[in-house]
Amino acid sequence: MTCSTRGAAEPLLRIEALRTEFPTNAGPVRAVDGLDLTIGSGEILGLVGESGCGKTVTALSVLGLVDRPGRVTGGAIRFGETDLLALPPARMAAIRGERIAMIFQQPRGSLNPVMRIGSQIAEQFIRRRALGRAEAWARAVALLRAVGIPAPESGARAYPHEISGGQAQRVMIAIALALEPQLLIADEPTTALDVTVQAQVLALLRERCRTLGTALMLVTHDLGVVAQLADRVTVMYAGHAVETAPVASLFARPMHPYTQGLLAAIPRPGENRERLAEIPGSVALATQTGCRFAARCAERTRLHLDRCENEMPPLVPRPDGGMVRCWAAQS
């Protein structure tokens, strides 16, 4: 299967103007507000942004797993031909795991502590593929081998507390990809792991997705991870997308001041700085009119742009086929 159907035909997942709200005593908080995002089939998309910008809520919204009292209040999520927001709960449950799977930040916490890891994989085959126990177990062992668990025959009999965090994340990948879904959402899959293990798990994630032709939505705040893995990047800020572009050209030529700030904040070897670069200020609530980044934006002050504070900039095309949401980039 090809991996680069970038932007060409109808994308696998298309999110348009998504809004997910959580009611609070001080009125609804819009965790996601006007997010646009597409993923082609087999594509690896990095969804980047700082803590609290709505990355995880976006992932949960796609799966219909936003916990009450939060709910999706606007926009559209189309998965192939299906409108995910209009699906009844039973049909949504049938899609989860089968066509869209997800792995979480805490690999060990995501495994049921009282079940052998082999059984947790085999369960998918027994439940969803009507396989017998022996055959399902054999498939589980084969999957554990594919994700690089040493001695998978005996490893399958281990309980989650007996394996390391890196191995647990490998098991989670095996479970998530067991039914060969078309889309895998990985929410900060390596944040809880040792740096040495992170690279291995990421390489595995890419290898498995490429082999199965599974598209990957990689939710992360780590631009290094994105550079390593993704085909395309969408940068989120305060609940919506501010810039999206193929990974190489985004790193080569970031157009949104926030993306520029993120890239400048990465420490580089050989550089000797007293203090790491930072973006001053903190994320504003997505309730103001105008650009949500305006208050922290160095470009705006440099160019003396007034409209930033009053008018929300639209997403406009970048020369490389990407999009950017910035008045300064347009002028």
């Binding site: 795991g97 089968e98 049921n112 502590p113 507390h161």
Partner: protein, 295 residues
């Protein structure tokens, strides 16, 4: 006899020890209390299973010639006012003891666990409905609730077991609900949802197995209470009816003879004491082993 139910919150343990079944078994085998409690319980089960081969006399055969014999080699625990061999009746009594344990505990546990699971993992209105019903049950003093159920169903050993079972529901329901609430927002439950598991799949396959260990511990404390209550009902004439070889019933029939033939009272009293003690010891040992805080 005391009729207070053990407070569930005291026994609500984190399910942290779950998953390490082998370690649990290992710790249990090195626990002297567990050996004593479990040993006596096994002895009771053995006696119940092989009662006809153990007893020297038919426990129901009346023989006025040997009435009120003190303990001797012929009659180990003596005979009662009708000349029945008390040892034989005690041995047969193990069957009713285990029956009461099984019936009362399974009624209380099955209904209580189901209600607790539904309340803890279901929609808010269902939680409200179930827990208010449980509060109603709890508002009655334990023995009064049991008596009320018997008043409705009529006195017999079976209704006594059902009544004691019903009175045990609130404890289980509250314990399970509390445990479910702490488990249901954990990551692996979320992961199961993301894998497309249905509501019942998650309740029975993921949440329930993770709340089992505190449940086992609670069961070993709640069950002896149920047995005591059933014995008390027999003592009040509302449970097992004569001539049943039930320890509580034997106790009440012999109570007028307490000062003339002490063995008629001592034997069933000791039997109840030892049996309950064994369950409590086992419960203590299980709690020590399953509770990570006491290690």
């Amino acid at each position: 006899m005391s009729f207070t139910t053990a407070e569930p919150s005291l026994l609500a343990l984190p399910a942290a020890a779950a998953g390490s079944r082998r370690a649990t078994l290992h710790a249990l085998l090195h626990n002297r209390t567990a050996w004593i409690g479990g040993g006596v319980l096994l002895l009771i089960i053995f006696a119940a299973a092989f009662a006809p081969w153990i007893v020297p006399y038919d426990p129901y055969r009346v023989d006025p010639i040997v009435r009120l014999q003190p303990p001797s080699l012929a009659h180990l625990f003596g005979t009662d006012a009708l000349g029945r061999d008390i040892f034989s009746r005690i041995v047969y009594g193990t069957r009713l003891f285990l029956l009461i344990c099984a019936i009362a505990a399974s009624i209380a546990a099955s209904i209580g666990v189901t209600l607790g699971l539904l309340a803890g993992s279901g929609p808010a209105w269902l939680d409200m409905l179930i827990m208010r019903l449980i509060d109603v049950l709890l508002a009655f003093p334990y023995i009064l609730l049991v008596l009320a159920v018997i008043a409705i169903l009529g006195p017999s050993l079976w209704t006594a077991m059902v009544a004691v079972g019903i009175a045990g529901i609130p404890g289980y329901a509250r314990l399970v609900r509390a445990e479910v609430l702490s488990v249901r927002s954990l990551e692996y439950v979320e992961a199961m949802r993301a894998a497309g598991a249905g509501v019942w799949r998650i309740r029975l396959g993921t949440i329930l197995p993770n709340v089992v260990s505190p449940l086992i511990v609670y069961g070993t404390f709640a069950t002896p209470l149920a047995v005591l209550a059933a014995a008390a009902l027999s003592f009040l004439g509302l449970g097992a009816q004569p001539p049943a070889a039930e320890w509580g019933a034997m106790l009440v029939n012999a109570r007028t003879l307490m000062f003339t033939a002490w063995w008629t009272v001592a034997a069933p009293g000791m039997a109840i004491f030892v049996a309950i003690l064994s369950l409590n010891l086992l419960g203590n040992a299980l709690r020590d082993v399953l509770d990570p805080r006491s290690r």
